[in-house]
């Protein structure tokens, strides 16, 4: 993988090694739902919980990949990717809410429970069409992409870079969080969406549904890894790295920096939106808390821990930090925030190239 200082120097053995390790890891992950079928007493058996949690991590890994693409390759640090993730989640959540149909508590044939409760007479216009899954998936990509386009266009055009851009994206997710907490937005306010019943005619919360969603997420992860990897190999990737390292110089060479940055930013937002769309049926809930600025910045630290200059690093970081989180919060929840804060400090001060940097050795 390319590293911070000298992205051009190809070093074949580590790259092959990383590719092989990545493929092996994905293959191992693919085994999990199968092991889940084994009887509970068996040595290799995997619990439902493990499958669900790992599925969640895979979605996080896609989110991390999106952040890593923008930050590691193009030097755009977004502190608002949680917003794209949550918007994708809300799009899928709306589809799942529509599928509940008359099975809600109030038994209304069309309106979701919270709308009946709030006295809606009919579905708001922006809910129309969400009964179709392809439309919901399209929206899960389109809405985050459009938001990223607007915010990115306004920012990159005025050459808002570095920390200024980070703060603007953070303000963006903060504003969205405030907006989604409101009841009159028509997105369930405080409680968001939950109590989903089925997807594609398949009841959720069964072993089969979980395995299907797990494989879908794994497919998304593998696909986006390949896509991003391909991108970094093209001329686009080379220009992006140049923008990251010397933006003004690229601009003076005649490249439209705005267009390049916008492309990668929108793409990374779409990845985040898709990750969110798969995350919601896996965890069974989406609420405005997902927009919290802390979530976005936590996702950034996954990437930093894994190693931001490398795509695999982002994925690795998402898995390792979340594994640590799950393990630590199970027996000492008070310590988790110390550990997370400590990770922020340790990674930035001691390990700027992340876990991947440990394997790559010295290249400077």
């Amino acid at each position: 993988m390319s590293d911070l200082a000298a992205p051009a120097a190809p070093r074949v053995p580590p790259r092959l090694l990383a590719l092989g390790a990545g493929a092996a890891a994905l293959g191992l992950l693919a085994l999990l739902p199968l092991l889940n079928l084994l009887p509970a007493g068996s040595a290799l058996a995997v619990s439902d919980f493990t499958v669900a949690v790992t599925g969640k991590w895979i979605c996080y890994a896609v989110l991390a990949l999106g952040i890593g693409l923008a930050w590691g390759q193009a030097g755009i640090l977004s502190l608002g990717h949680g917003a794209f993730f949550a918007l994708g989640g809300y799009a899928m959540g709306m589809h799942l809410m529509r599928l509940i149909g008359p099975r809600g508590v109030y038994g209304h044939p069309v309106l979701p429970d919270f709308m009946v409760f709030l006295g809606y007479r009919e579905l708001p216009w922006y809910w129309l069409g969400f009964e179709h899954l392809p439309y919901a998936i399209l929206m899960a990509m389109l809405v985050p992409g459009l938001l990223a386009f607007v915010v990115g266009y306004l920012s990159f055009r005025s050459r808002i870079t570095g920390v200024y851009f980070s703060i603007i994206t953070q303000a963006m997710t903060y504003a969205l969080m405030l907006a989604f907490f409101r009841n009159d937005m028509g997105f369930g306010g405080n409680n968001g969406f939950t109590d989903f019943k089925e997807l594609l005619g398949m009841p959720l919360n069964t072993r089969g549904a979980r395995a299907a969603l797990f494989y879908a997420a794994l497919l998304l992860l593998g696909g986006s890894l390949l896509l991003c990897r391909h991108l970094t190999r093209t001329k686009l990737g080379a220009v992006l790295v140049a923008v990251r390292d010397a933006e003004s110089r690229v601009r003076f060479l005649g490249y439209s920096v705005t267009a390049f940055k916008l492309t990668v930013f929108v793409l990374s937002a779409v990845l985040a939106g898709l990750a969110g769309a798969l995350y919601v049926p896996l965890v069974g809930i989406i609420n405005p808390g997902e927009f919290a600025p802390t979530n976005s910045i936590e996702a950034v630290i996954w990437v930093a821990v894994g190693g931001r200059a490398s795509l695999v690093g982002a994925v690795l970081g998402a898995f390792s930090v979340n594994a640590l989180k799950t393990w630590l919060t199970s027996f000492a929840p008070d310590l988790w925030l110390f550990a997370l804060g400590g990770l922020f400090v340790a990674v930035t001060v001691l390990l700027p190239r992340g876990l991947v940097g440990l394997f790559q050795g010295r290249t400077r």
């Binding site: 303000a171 963006m172 504003a175």
Partner: protein, 516 residues
């Protein structure tokens, strides 16, 4: 015949000398039939005698006792005040007619009560009940009143009562007085009267328009004050950032946590002074230097320990300080608990100040505005007038040259960062007065503070002042018609668009410093 007697008694009551007799004359009636009781109550109410109030209250509450013809109150004869045995006495019973008479009489008597608050409440009650019968009593009360705020309300009540009088001349008087008021109540009364008196419509409309103008002014003034108050809070939170981020270029996401440390220092100082009662009222002023020191030391430690290793890498600094903020927050949560801590306000900060025109201003918010301007002045003086400020500006402009001139740049960095963090701590003292002191106190302010600094122009204290006040007022102006949340969103959008026009903020640095 009895009606004439009542009327005579009523007229007689206008003469002070006759009033005392009226009380004694009317009192025995309370022991008679319901009809006689009602008459007696009317007469007592009209008497304006201070002795009548406790008797009528007791009657209303069922505490007035009678034995044969004698009335007993609290173990004494109601008429003479001589001690009397209450044995064998039974409560005086009343019916609805008497109760209705009691309500009016009590209201009239309270108008002459010795307690100004009671008189105020009575005036308000009369204002709401409004009947032409109250006019003479109110006129007498106004003539006697010495407390201005009570007199104002009585005048309003009088005007409201005049509005329902039969004589159009008296009605006009009422309309004129109400037209000078600036309250929603007066406006509603006038609109009600307009429907009942079509012939007075023109005058009433003029009076309503006058009230509307005054109400609009009042609303604008209150919005401005709320905006300035929010702006002063933003200014306090952003001033420290203007120094650490604006001057040094260090992005400190733990800034909000330094504010929070300042607020908790206030709490700790207050708890420590609980044992020294004479010092307790001064705990808030004493907290200011304490909070400056605590947050300043924390800032110096952060700069020397960690940030210094990350100079030139702003994104890493951002993430690292965010982690530090997380750790500080969790540490405070474990040490003090997650619930809100109560910081008391000294008496001179409590209550509201009412300005002419009915504009209400809460004292503590006023003090926060004053304090924020003081802190701004302090920061300005420290940067412009002291040796430390001079060295700081030198290091910002050109680190190497400053070093060759013998300035210890590392020390200046640490001091500058400590100074900015200390100001955050002082902001925490002020915020403890108007916000909940909880571990996540600072998180709510950090994004807004960055917006203020970016909006005002990085590296400019004047820009920070204008940015904070501008955003505060803008927020409060949008709020009434868009709601608090959408106002925040709208402000963010406005900033985004503003940055399109002026990417370097309102007060951009010019010349060499701009390239730093």
């Amino acid at each position: 015949m009895t009606r004439i007697l009542v009327l005579l008694a009523f007229l007689a009551s206008a003469l002070p000398a006759a009033a005392q007799d009226a009380f004694l004359d009317a009192l025995p009636g309370l022991a008679g039939s319901f009809g006689a009781q009602a008459e007696a109550v009317e007469r007592l109410g009209a008497s304006g005698d201070p002795r009548a109030l406790p008797v009528l209250r007791a009657l209303s509450d069922g505490r007035l006792l009678r034995r044969d013809a004698a009335l007993l109150l609290n173990g004494a004869d109601a008429a003479t005040g001589a001690p009397a045995d209450a044995a064998g006495a039974e409560p005086v019973r009343i019916n609805n007619r008497v109760r209705a008479a009691l309500r009016g009489a009590l209201g009239r008597l309270q108008l002459v009560s010795a307690n100004p608050d009671e008189r105020l409440a009575a005036a308000d009650a009369v204002f709401r009940s409004r009947s032409a019968e109250n006019i003479p009593g109110l006129e007498a009360a106004i003539a006697r009143e010495t407390v201005p705020r009570v007199r104002d309300r009585q005048a309003l009540a009088l005007a409201a009562s005049r509005l329902v009088a039969a004589d159009p001349g008296i009605k006009r008087q009422g309309i004129a007085t109400l037209g000078e008021a600036s309250s929603e109540d007066a406006r509603a009364l006038l609109l009600e009267a307009r429907a009942a008196n079509p012939e007075l419509a023109a005058e009433i409309d003029a009076a309503v328009a006058a009230i509307d103008g005054r109400l609009a002014f009042k609303r604008a003034a209150e919005t401005l004050f709320q905006g300035l108050s929010l702006g002063s809070v933003l200014l306090l939170a952003a001033l420290g950032l203007a120094i650490t981020f604006g001057v040094m270029g260090v992005i400190n996401m733990a800034h909000g946590e330094f504010v929070m440390l300042g607020a908790y220092t206030t709490f700790v100082v207050q708890e420590a002074l609980r044992g020294i009662p004479w010092l307790l009222p001064w705990s808030l002023p004493l907290s200011v230097p304490a909070a400056f020191l605590v947050a300043g030391l924390a800032g110096a430690a952060l700069e020397r320990g960690l940030i210094r290793h990350l100079y030139g890498r702003p994104l890493e600094t951002l993430l690292m300080t965010f982690g530090v903020g997380m750790i500080l927050q969790q540490a405070v949560r474990l040490a003090f608990g997650a619930q809100n801590r109560e910081v008391l306000s000294p008496s001179w900060m409590q209550g509201t100040l009412s300005l002419p025109g009915g504009i209400l201003i809460t004292q503590n918010r006023l003090w926060v505005i004053v304090f924020s301007l003081l802190v701004l002045g302090l920061a300005f003086a420290a940067i412009r007038l002291t040796r430390f400020g001079l060295e700081m500006r030198a290091v910002v402009q050109n680190r190497r040259t400053a070093a060759t001139m013998g300035i210890r740049t590392g020390r200046v960095d640490a001091l500058t960062f400590a100074f900015g963090s200390g100001i955050a701590g002082m902001a925490g003292v002020a915020l403890s007065q108007i916000d909940n002191v909880s571990p996540n106190l600072g998180t709510g302010y950090i994004i807004d503070s960055f917006m203020v600094v970016v909006f005002g122009g990085v590296g400019s204290l004047v820009g920070t002042l204008v940015g904070a006040m501008g955003l505060g007022v803008l927020n409060k102006v949008i709020e009434p018609w868009a709601g608090a949340v959408l106002a925040k969103v709208a402000v963010l959008v406005v900033i985004m668009l503003f940055i399109q026009r002026r990417p370097r903020g309102l007060f951009a640095l010019r010349g060499r410093a701009a390239e730093a």
